[in-house]
């Protein structure tokens, strides 16, 4: 059991990446599209691992950053005629800037106040997109821009490679002094600050990294669908992203990638259930969380008990 865990910790990411690279060989076009969306979602969820899992800053505004990335990419290509690579860089930079700016008012907030702020931010962005018609074409949606790669398979392979690299980087941050500072901010902000952690800077970096990943995810979303509509960036989507990172184990990188794929694929697998689909979907997630939660709180109780004995 222990050996298995060590093996998984070392090669888990590699195994997932190889499996993902093989997916196009075995799937229909529609199944392939769903997996693609899963990979694209996983990219955003890696950002939430940093923000929520490491630093402990809650957010329900991820869809807004995703939208910022996707729309910026589309607009840069359509209106300014930028090539896809430049558009990608531009979109990631703009999203990073927006996410970082959002970080400033959020510095002094925590808990429910922070969550409400991020929900508000999400709505503002969505309504802005809906009403800024000359730029975003509002409810008609934005389409007609090129994808980052000429073929769908090309986009997919690029996505998987990028996702694997990002996962390695996220893991690396988690193990570094920066990751330690993030976890300290999560557990005890005052103690972290007194120990020489510049808490504001750590929060700023977390926000910026998360926004960058969301922006990149948005670029790939735009490339996958070729059509953007404000309706695909509601608070509902943000909640799903939160679910993905929670199910993945909050600060577990490989776990979050797998849970992103799982949560994306599950509703499609359950399609044969017709009307009761969403009911079963929610039930499966609830049961999973219940088991997971009980197991991890038991583990906590166990280690607390061992302190009492020693």
């Amino acid at each position: 059991m222990n050996n298995l865990r060590v093996f998984w910790n070392r090669y888990g990411l590699l195994i997932v990446a190889v499996l993902l690279l093989l997916v196009p060989q075995f799937t229909t076009q529609y199944e392939f599209y769903v997996v693609q969306r899963g990979v694209q979602n996983a990219m955003l969820v890696l950002g939430l691992v940093i923000l929520i899992g490491y630093t402990g800053l809650m957010t329900l505004g991820s869809a807004a950053l995703l939208a910022t990335g996707a729309y910026t990419y589309g607009i840069l290509l359509l209106r300014l005629g930028w090539p896809p690579l430049l558009g990608t860089i531009g979109a990631v930079l703009v999203t990073t800037l927006v996410g970082t700016l959002l970080g400033f008012p959020a510095f002094r907030l925590s808990g429910p106040f922070l969550v409400v702020t991020t929900v508000g931010f999400g709505e503002i962005v969505r309504i802005l997109i809906l009403n800024w018609e000359p730029l975003t074409r509002g409810p008609y949606g934005l389409s007609g821009f090129r994808a980052v790669m000429p073929t769908t398979r090309g986009v997919y392979y690029v996505m998987v490679v990028v996702l694997a690299l990002l996962a390695v980087v996220t893991e690396r941050i988690g193990r570094s002094r920066l990751g330690l500072a993030m976890k300290a901010v999560k557990e005890d902000e005052v103690a972290a600050e007194v120990m020489g952690v510049n808490v504001r800077r750590v929060k700023l970096i977390s926000n910026a990294l998360t926004a960058a990943l969301a922006g990149l995810s948005g670029v790939f979303l735009a490339s996958l669908t070729g059509y953007l509509n404000p309706d695909s960036f509601t608070a509902n989507e943000s909640t799903t992203y939160l679910l993905m990172v929670v199910m993945g184990g909050m600060s577990n990188v490989v776990g979050s990638v797998i849970s992103s794929l799982f949560v994306t694929v599950l509703p499609e697998v359950l399609r044969f259930l017709a009307e009761s689909r969403l009911l079963v979907y929610s039930l499966i997630l609830l049961v999973y969380l219940r088991i997971y939660h009980v197991r991890s709180s038991k583990a906590r109780a166990k280690s607390a008990g061992s302190r009492g004995r020693s």
């Binding site: 690396r172 570094s176 005890d188 007194v194 020489g196």
Partner: protein, 262 residues
């Protein structure tokens, strides 16, 4: 003593005042801690001792007066900047990261944002980042050895017995490479064997040239350690001197035991 008054002062507060609403928690307090000294701050419960530490470390803003560290005014600086200048502290209620290892808890004393490898260097794991990592690990291991926690290096901090968690907090403070170490009731909740270990450790730390400023209730500890004692009551300094002088001071006895009825 007079001659080194200016050169040897590590920490000086002048007219330090803090109010919480109508309550004056710290009132016009003057303190001086000299280089290489162990100073103690004593006083009855609620006399404002911890508030003084929170003011020095920038957790509370100062209402009046100033705090000088090595000749530089530090009140108004954020806590992390005060730490970087060389003031480290521990807390009355232990504040370590229970879910992290002993090593990582100590490593936290290296802080973040104080130069060193930046976020991109960490992301790409550059040579500079790897060098820094190795150097820090060596330094942290040295400190863990110094305080006697090297045998539990990879344990989760919450699995340590209470006394060793206190030692770990001191180790984390030492990793910041302080010139001045502030200890907030380090002996609280320890048994007599653990207190003995703690006293030896504080002496050993002081012998490396680090000044120590300790808040303490236990008189035997103060008597054993402190070169100089400040007594606080209702936020004001009522006496200062060596432990022998303080012991005989009528105002101090009154603050601790109440007025006799003679």
């Amino acid at each position: 003593m007079e001659m080194e008054k200016n050169s040897g002062v590590v920490l000086r507060t002048e007219g330090l005042t803090k109010r919480f609403g109508g309550l004056v928690a710290v009132n016009n307090l003057d303190l001086e801690v000299y280089e290489g000294q162990i100073c103690a701050l004593i006083g009855p419960n609620g006399s404002g001792k911890t508030t003084v530490l929170n003011l020095i470390t920038g957790i509370y803003p100062v209402d009046d007066g100033r705090i000088e560290f090595c000749g530089e005014q530090i009140n108004g600086l954020p806590s992390h900047a005060i730490c970087w200048r060389g003031i480290a502290r521990t807390f009355q209620n232990i504040r370590i990261l229970g879910s992290q290892t002993v090593f990582d808890n100590a490593l936290l004393g290296k802080g973040y944002g104080n130069g060193g490898a930046g976020v991109f260097q960490i992301m790409f794991d550059t040579a500079k980042h790897r060098r820094e990592r190795a150097a820090f690990a060596e330094e942290v291991d040295e400190v863990l050895k110094f305080v006697g926690l090297d045998d539990v290096r990879s344990e989760l901090a919450r699995n340590l017995p209470y006394g060793r968690q206190r030692i770990l907090e001191i180790a984390r403070a030492l990793v910041t490479r302080p010139k001045l170490l502030l200890l907030d009731e380090p002996a609280a909740g320890l048994n007599s064997a653990e207190i003995y270990t703690l006293m030896e450790l504080i002496k050993k730390i002081n012998a490396t040239g680090i000044s120590v400023f300790v808040i303490e209730h236990r008189m035997e500890l103060v008597g054993e350690l402190a070169d100089w004692v400040f007594v606080l009551n209702y936020g004001s300094k009522i006496a200062e001197g060596t432990f022998e002088e303080i012991k005989e001071n009528p105002a101090v006895i009154e603050a601790y035991l109440g007025k006799g009825r003679d």
